[in-house]
């Protein structure tokens, strides 16, 4: 990890990054889960994190999203007004506000990210109401727009998500996160647990939305196929550390680290 620097990945760093994580460490007791992880994420960029299960991908994501408190390290986020805020030093109200406006979090299991007892429309409208929208017509309009964007029929707007299929639930979760026009979305295995055809459609949709909205995304996955389709850049994690990082095609076509080579070689052709 130490000999890799952020500029090695070939990204133009003229513009300051949206998210800068430096030397993030997290341990659970004696177990080191994230060891000295550093990376940066620029607006409009999709960064994939791959690695075997237990390599610390999800913990990294949880630390970045402030769901978990890292033991050490800095997480800096560039706010809309250009100021750089360090997440751990923000006040809780400001951080909670940020999490429901500028940030999105897509859970692996849509049931964790949705309110199953509420209708699809309310699931999408919730963020708007949380930030102060008090006009029913506007909220419903926005909900209908987003349902269309994630390809859910408009007449399902009042149905609860528990009667939706897994793929629809995942798309609804994405809509619910994107309605507040976040600048960064963290995704934990967004296509996990979906069958292959649904996966492909979802990936297509995600790619389109990221491009259209200029979203920055951090996508955790164990599926190299997903990483190749979605991510511009890729980080490979093993045992809590980043062992290789670079442009996706570069990493997958010409893996340098033995672990990455193993990972690529074990991919089904």
């Amino acid at each position: 990890m130490s000999e890799l620097s952020l500029n090695d990945v070939g990204y133009d760093a003229e513009e300051p990054p949206l998210l800068q994580v430096s030397r993030l460490c997290k341990r659970f007791g004696p177990q080191i889960v994230c060891a000295d992880v550093s990376f940066a994420l620029w607006p409009g960029e999709v960064l994939g994190v791959v690695g075997e299960s237990g390599s610390g991908k999800t913990t990294l994501l949880n630390c970045v999203s402030t769901r978990l408190e890292p033991d050490s390290g800095r997480i800096e986020f560039r706010l809309r007004d250009g100021r750089i805020a360090q997440l751990s030093e923000m006040s809780e109200p400001a951080r909670r506000m940020l999490m429901r406006t500028d940030w999105g979090f897509v859970h692996q299991n849509p049931r964790d990210g949705l309110r199953l007892g509420l209708s699809a429309g309310a699931n999408i409208g919730e963020r708007l109401m949380e930030v102060g929208s008090r006009h029913y017509g506007e909220i419903r309009g926005a909900a209908a727009d987003w349902l269309a964007k994630v390809e859910i029929e408009i007449d399902r707007i009042d149905d609860p998500p528990r009667v939706f299929s897994g793929g629809m639930q995942q798309r609804l979760q994405i809509a619910r996160n994107l309605v507040s026009r976040p600048r960064i979305v963290l995704m934990d295995e967004p296509t996990g647990g979906l069958d292959v055809s649904v996966q492909a459609r979802l990936l297509d949709l995600l790619r389109g939305l990221c491009t259209e909205l200029g979203l920055a995304a951090l996508v955790v996955t164990h599926d190299l196929g997903v990483a190749r389709l979605l991510a511009h850049r890729l980080m490979v994690m093993q045992g809590g550390a980043i062992v290789e990082a670079g442009l996706t095609d570069q990493v997958l076509d010409d893996p340098q680290h033995p672990y990455t080579q193993l990972l690529v070689a074990s991919m089904l052709q």
Binding site: R96, G121, A122, G125, M129, E130, R134, H135, Y136, R140
Partner: protein, 287 residues
């Protein structure tokens, strides 16, 4: 304090509760008045009536009642229902205070689920019995989280409930215990009063106290404090209206109860506030 009246029970302190408990409750009340709409925890005592019958309200009343007070107790607007009669007799026996059924004569009113139709005035105190004090309870089950939501004034989730109502039924279907915003800061459950009574809470000259015995919370709305019912800009808050008028007094502007009078579906509408109805009837007879 000594019990002078022959009708009052002996062996109890004035108004049943011991002085130490009353002081503890008064401190909670003072804090509640200082932070309108904020739920103050207090060490609720066992009372000689079951939870759900007004143990919170009765403790608040017992802590603030004095020998010179005149008490009125209503249950759903009526002075003559079991709950109202029992609580009134409880204070007659343990405090020996005067009681009344007339809103204008009372200095202290304990109520279950109504606000009297007669406008309250300054120096009157109304005590509400509250079953569940937390307005966010059905939205967020975790107590730690609801407290945080109150602290940060994050009340968007409450609007989600109203949204669901409109999406499903075309209008907000909550008709009682309708959530209100107190002094533009704290979201509050007004106890299960009909939403018809919500506008009466706004800028009311009387002191409004709320006691929840089982949930161990006291909260308050001081006199002349703004109380706003939640709504959407395009679905404003409205109160119930009736096409009928009161069968007894003919009132068209009071809250009406529907009473079924036989098994063939005959029904009449009467005022829920019995005192209001009686006063109107007396005024009519005098004409």
């Amino acid at each position: 304090m000594s019990n002078t009246d022959a009708n009052t029970s002996t062996g109890y302190n004035f108004a049943y509760l011991d002085e130490q408990t009353k002081r503890m409750i008064r401190r909670a009340i003072l804090k509640a008045v200082a932070i309108p709409g904020y739920q103050v925890p207090f060490a609720s005592r066992e009372m000689p009536l079951p939870y759900g019958w007004g143990t919170g309200g009765i403790q608040v009343t017992a802590s603030i009642i004095g020998p010179d007070d005149t008490l009125k107790v209503i249950d759903q607007g009526a002075d003559d229902t079991t709950n109202a009669v029992s609580i009134r007799r409880f204070f007659e026996r343990t405090a020996g205070t005067a009681t009344t059924e007339r809103t204008t004569e009372a200095s202290l009113i304990q109520t279950r689920h109504r606000i009297p139709e007669t406008p309250l005035r300054e120096h009157q105190i109304i005590v509400y019995q509250v079953p569940i004090p937390e307005p966010l309870r059905w939205v967020e089950p975790r107590e730690a989280e609801t407290r945080k939501m109150h602290a940060l004034a994050e009340y968007g989730a409450m609007y989600v409930r109203l949204y669901e109502d409109i999406a499903q039924f075309g209008h907000i279907t909550t008709t009682y215990d309708y959530p209100v915003m107190v002094d533009g800061r704290y979201l509050m459950r007004p106890s299960p009063i009909p939403k018809f009574d919500n506008p009466k809470m706004d800028m009311n000259p009387a002191l409004q106290l709320f006691g929840a015995g089982r949930e161990k919370r006291i909260y308050a709305v001081p006199p002349y404090t703004s109380v706003e019912s939640l709504d959407f800009a395009d679905h404003p808050f409205t109160i119930e209206r009736w096409e009928q008028s009161c069968e007894i007094c003919g009132s068209r502007d009071s809250f009406l109860d529907e009473v079924i009078t036989d098994d063939r579906g005959t029904r009449v509408f009467v005022c829920s506030d019995t005192d209001h109805c009686r006063q109107r009837g007396a005024a009519k007879a005098a004409e």
